[in-house]
């Protein structure tokens, strides 16, 4: 969450609600937008780390609002983030932990675990398909397409787990 907020602030100073609605606008409804509380907590931490600074802007008819802007250190951190290659496929997978360790918990029904997980992934896939049908704009559509391809890979991998472990 930190870096996307810095990126939005690189364009222009903004307050928390503006950042929240900009995130929604860019990524569409498939992206689970953080609630306003999470955004403010993140902004406070960014400020503590010297990556943003803030000031209260007095408003005539409403309560003051706190407007955040990027510091030089923030811009440097942002550029560093953008320029760095991103972490590849995850090796840590909670479902796989369950599958590998279930016998220690006394439940050795691996097929049952795989079937339940497959149903869950398929339901997610269906939700994503529905979102994709209504998604507007290239960025939201690509985000959903990426999620669907990851899910497809997860489902293929479930099948491999079934072949090897059941």
């Amino acid at each position: 969450m930190r870096m996307p907020l810095l990126a939005l602030l690189a364009k222009e100073p903004a307050h928390g609600y503006e950042l929240k609605s900009q995130l929604e606008q860019v990524f569409g409804e498939a992206y689970p937008t953080p609630n306003i509380g999470q955004i403010y907590v993140t902004l406070q931490r960014l400020e503590r780390d010297g990556l943003v600074r803030s000031q209260d802007v007095v408003q005539a008819t409403r309560p003051n609002k706190r407007v955040y802007e990027l510091t030089d250190a923030g811009r440097e951190a942002l550029v560093g983030w953008v320029d760095k290659a991103t972490e590849g496929p995850r090796v840590r997978d909670e479902f796989f932990m369950k599958l590998a360790l279930s016998h220690l918990a006394g439940t050795s029904d691996r097929l049952g675990l795989i079937i339940r997980q497959r149903r869950h992934y398929l339901a997610q896939m269906r939700s994503l398909s529905e979102l994709a049908a209504s998604a507007d704009g290239r960025i939201p559509r690509l985000l959903i397409e990426g999620a669907m391809l990851h899910l497809q890979a997860d489902l293929d991998w479930l099948q491999r787990c079934q072949e090897e472990l059941v």
Binding site: P32, Y121, M125, S129, H150, L151
Partner: protein
């Protein structure tokens, strides 16, 4: 066999298929009990070699079961002769394949019209049906084209039009998007969904879970047996998608 009020359209009981050569026998399908209701859309998934295509081929009479029963529309069909199966397919079953299987030296229009004629329609009826289908599937402008001049996605849409030409009680589809890119897959899938929404019963084999998740039910096959038969109720509101879409950083 038409006019059976039963909601059950297709049923199999302990269906098996064993392939035998000189040295080895391979059990491709091992005791499948399956039921499909009228208007239902079910997907069969599973790894390659799990028996899903063999199962579908038996249900369309393209492969003879080793044992077990197939009931279609209240009639037992597993023991039918090849000729009787051919009649059944022409009149009551639509088939879509991975590699389209269109007649290459006939136009798009004739491919579809021939299927309607063979399904028992009169000349005029067949032409009307062909025009109607090509219009619905967005192919009206391609009517006089040879199939080979169409893209894969367009060819599969023609194949779907042909499969629907006889107004089949059951549409069988074997990896219908298996040879298509993602945009063409999407358009074929959307047409299957529309057809289903109009009441068409569909049984579809796929390894693509994006396609499978569009069905009412997803049947998972493994080693020739059904390991799961999951209803796919559409959530009214999109379910939360933890982790899948979270941004890093």
């Amino acid at each position: 066999m038409i006019g059976n009020g039963d909601r059950l359209l297709l049923r199999t009981s302990n269906l098996t298929k064993t392939f035998a050569s000189d040295r080895v026998t391979v059990a491709a399908v091992r005791g499948v009990d399956l039921a499909l209701h009228r208007g239902e859309f079910a997907a069969i998934t599973g790894p390659s070699g799990s028996g899903k295509s063999t199962l579908l081929h038996m249900l369309g009479g393209l492969e003879r079961p080793s044992s077990g029963e197939i009931w279609l529309d209240g009639q037992r069909v597993d023991g039918l002769s090849q000729a009787r199966w051919a009649v059944l397919r022409r009149r009551h079953i639509g088939f879509v394949f991975q590699f389209f299987n269109l007649v290459s030296n006939m136009t798009v229009a004739d491919n579809v019209e021939l299927a309607a004629l063979m399904g028992g329609a009169g000349r005029k009826q067949a032409r009307v049906r062909r025009e109607e289908l090509l219009g619905q599937l967005g192919l009206a402008s391609k009517a006089d084209t040879a199939p080979a001049r169409l893209s894969g996605g367009e060819q599969q849409r023609v194949a779907l039009a042909r499969a629907l030409a006889n107004k089949p009680t059951l549409l069988l589809a074997d990896e219908p998007t298996g040879n298509l890119d993602s945009a063409a897959s999407k358009s074929v899938l959307r047409l299957l969904e529309t057809t289903h929404a109009d009441g068409q019963a569909i049984l579809l084999v796929t390894h693509d879970s994006r396609v499978a998740s569009a069905a009412d039910r997803v049947i998972s096959l493994f080693d020739g047996m059904v390991v799961d038969d999951a209803p796919m109720s559409a959530p009214r509101r999109p379910m939360p998608l933890p982790g899948v879409l979270r941004l890093r950083g």
